[in-house]
Symmetry: C2
Subunit: 282 residues, 2 copies
């Protein structure tokens, strides 16, 4: 595995790879790798000739109340994990090179952002698309891998690729779960034993909703109410949101049709958990 | 020459060209081609294996008082001229494909825009960078050609390429002039005979400024005053602006140093003429 810090060198290497006909799979991360990232790498490894991971804690996607400085970092551990999983190039740029003085062209996302987690993170996705537009141009990937755990991010990145015609295929990777259905997350360790035993109810309530939809239910409000009731009854968490939206447009629905997402966020004492499922009705 | 309207087909063709190792030169235009455009094509032809021209009247770069609908169009003539000059691919996309319903990620330029012609065209360069980001991703050029007549546009596009790391080399092409020095422009035909005989004074006053700078003058205000005096005395035009700015940052200077531009705009009765020179002091 080659670690590259220079933007120019990275882009140059990728141009050489492409000229040789190699297909490039890309896993952008902010480092502090967990199983989710490594699953993305595994899939990228299977589907491409060259696998690139980037590690860059992107200041633009942090809000004023979100602590960019305190975001966890452990480059040496990340480097080891990436190499073990078969990453070929680890791109680890300097902040001053990514956003030099005079950086002055901003991207702003208008759709898909004021719902779900985006509602409480104004400007977050502006930062996400800005850094991804840069990374796509530097890494020149054929495929970019994103976890469906953050389904809203996947939707926004689909928007970026479509709006700006990036020659990149977005590959959404399904949520990895514990045996009991709880979506894997580095935050799960902050759950108390009692909370941990309740937490699988999040996914279970999504599954129950899927079952009632399969049985013919189409009224969004009824489905949401039943998910909320389920979570209120079976967990000590406080519901942040339960939403059903068209996917990937993330627009409000009252009656189900086409492709949509059921997504929720629940605040436990020291961990806020999110989960979702997407369903397509023919 | 192949005319392509489909975004997907264009991108696909260019990916094939690149895989074969061909270098792509790109001349983006809004059509209604004139000698300036054709000079760009000539240079692109000399420096690349494949030459792509795009014709797309971009609604995003027109202000509310600038008539997008009435912008002149003559595709058949453009097609003939492009073919004669050796364009290989003429990309002529539909507006609904470039900006489909749901297009929602905007680019905003913060630097280099509130000076020169940009001062009276708020939002113009936001539209320019948005369409160019799209075109770069579709055409995948190695080099993109822009005329220095619109030096501010060149500066803004340099900003776009730098800020977003597009793997594209911008090639600025020098201003083409009539024998008497007047910068060529489709607007020159709107000059009266008297105005046409005065108009070379614009370039002459820029040349005189260059001469005084060569002789040691470094005070910006003095140089600007002398250019204004020259134009007021020798033409019937009304000065819109005479500015000296660092280049390509387009920041105000009081004392000359490094690379800078001297640019002016003069309003004649039915034509507004612009001209500029760039100078580098070692």
């Amino acid at each position: 595995m080659k670690v590259i810090q220079s933007i120019q060198e990275m882009q140059q290497q990728m141009r050489i790879m492409k000229k040789q006909g190699y297909e490039i799979g890309f896993v952008p991360t902010m480092g502090y790798l967990h199983e989710g990232h490594l699953t993305l790498v595994e899939q990228a490894r299977r589907e491409n000739d060259v696998v690139v991971m980037s590690i860059f804690v992107n200041p633009l996607q942090f809000g004023p109340n979100e602590d960019f400085e305190r975001y966890p970092r452990d480059f040496e551990r990340d480097e080891r994990l990436a190499e073990e999983k078969g990453v070929d190039f680890l791109f680890y740029p300097h902040m001053d090179d990514m956003y030099p003085e005079g950086f002055s062209i901003k991207m702003t996302v208008e759709n898909r952002v004021n719902v779900l987690c985006g509602e409480s993170r104004p400007g977050h996705f502006d930062g996400v698309v800005t850094v991804l537009a840069k990374l796509f141009n530097i890494v020149l990937p054929d495929r970019a891998y994103f976890g469906m755990k953050d389904a809203q991010q996947v939707a926004v990145v689909e928007g970026l690729i479509a709006d700006y015609n990036f020659p990149v295929k977005l590959v959404p990777v399904k949520i990895i779960r514990e045996q009991d259905g709880l979506a894997k997350s580095s935050r799960n360790v902050y759950l108390t034993d009692k909370e941990r035993s309740e937490a699988p109810q999040l996914f279970r309530s999504l599954q129950q909703a899927a079952t009632t939809i399969e049985a013919g239910e189409r009224v969004v409000k009824k489905i949401i109410d039943s998910i909320r009731k389920n979570i209120d009854k079976n967990t000590s968490g406080k519901i942040d949101y339960v939403e059903i939206l068209s996917y990937p447009d993330l627009e409000t629905l009252t009656v189900l049709e086409g492709r949509f997402i059921i997504a929720l966020a629940v605040q436990f004492e020291r961990a806020r958990l999110i989960d979702n499922i997407t369903i397509t009705l023919e």
